[in-house]
Amino acid sequence: MTDLLFNLIYVLLFPGLLFCVVMGVLLAGLDRIWVARMQRRVGPPLLQGWYDFLKCCGKETIIPRHGKKAIYYGAPLLGFVALITISLFLPVVNGQAAFSGTADLVVILYLLTLVSVCMIVGASATGSPFAGVGLSREMVAMISYELPFVLVILTVSKAVLAAGDGASYTFSLQAIADYQAANGPLITHWALIPAAIAMLFVIPCEVGMHPFDVSEAETEICEGTLAEYSGPPLALYRLTHMVKMFIMTALFCVLFLGGISTGFVVLDTLILIVFCLVLTFLTMSLPHAVCARFKTEQVFQFYWTVVAGLAAVSLILVWLGF
């Protein structure tokens, strides 16, 4: 009974639904404020993301004639749930995940993919030609960041395994957290720094932040994937977008900045939040303020050459035992 209660708390409050949403809104709001400040604007209020979400909830939903209703409603929900689920598997606090041992890095990689796929299929189900172009671009963006992401995952796993006692879990997040708790954050390992940089590049593309938001170009292809979305499903997509910012930064913390623990949950959470804020600023706000939107093939070429190259260098270094 208490187990069930705890599980419910994990799922609904911390680190599940509520915490994710709060963090997502916080990060999204701060990101927008920072971008505004870098352009010498005032920027929206901190809770703007929350207002957007609520507003969209209150709007009418129009399903276009060629749309498929079940998928129109179901895809955003499934994507959001998949995203929330990731948070339960991340050993963010105290090096412990809410549900440790039930998922590893590959599962998280695929759940992230699932989130994007839900968006793509949802867009596809609207039948809009703009959504068609948007989902095509989203998919190319996904192919782009997947290669460096995979290389980073392999690098980290290998680095942990090389030092560890040959644990049978090869992609285990728990092993990574434990290793960092014992040996300090992985980012202090110099051979992993290129991989960390590559991961920093992966974050904005995975989230779909500005210079890499090829799939949602507002004026170019009319919001692309979201062209036909309105009302609560759109609200869920916006929320998913915000929560993804938190999940991706937290994933970076788990992979490269883990092992910093004070033993108190509250303090650890605060440290995590600080890390997430810094990462959000570095990976999302700065490029947003500085870069113009990439072209689709530029994204692809950039990720498969520069970013994947960085990750590959790291992988080879780790492989050679540095």
């Binding site: 920072w34 505004a36 400040r37 010498r40 604007r41 700065l286 500085v290």
Partner: protein, 189 residues
Amino acid sequence: MLPYLTKALTNLVKKPVTEKFPAGDPPKAAEGYRGRIQYDPEKCINCGMCMRVCAPQCMHRDIEKLENGDQKITFTFDLTSCTFCSMCADFCARHAITLSDDYMIVGTQPEDFLVTGTFVKKAPPPKPKFTPEQIAAMKAKAEAAKAAKAAAGGAAPKPKLTPEEIAERKAKAEAAKAAKAAAAQQGEA
């Protein structure tokens, strides 16, 4: 990329340049801004020039005949039709129309965009009647004046200015110019 980056980072610590506007009073418009039309019916003489020069035909004139023969004239300026070109103001002989610097032309009803003014144009007084003798007298008077003019014809040439006088006038003009420049300099300082 790098210059943008440094600029962005330095901007982060600077104060935003955003106006406070919706919170406070609207800022003053620039000098010479052509905003909401102001119409002074007291000055208007109903010459109709403004209506002739208005490209989008934004004025509307209602003429209502009163019982005593007076005309009640209502000018309506539809600001949603106006291009704020200021032609009407320029052509208004009596300066009855001016364009103010009020740019806050926002409203939900059509009435919010109308500028109206009404004045009553008095009917002209009835014409005096002259007797034939009076007319004859007037005619004679006019003819006498004509004859006098013919007699004095060409006797009054324009007075020529002496060179001294010309020099004096030139000096005067230059002094005025210098004074003006000095005033301008002072103003700038």
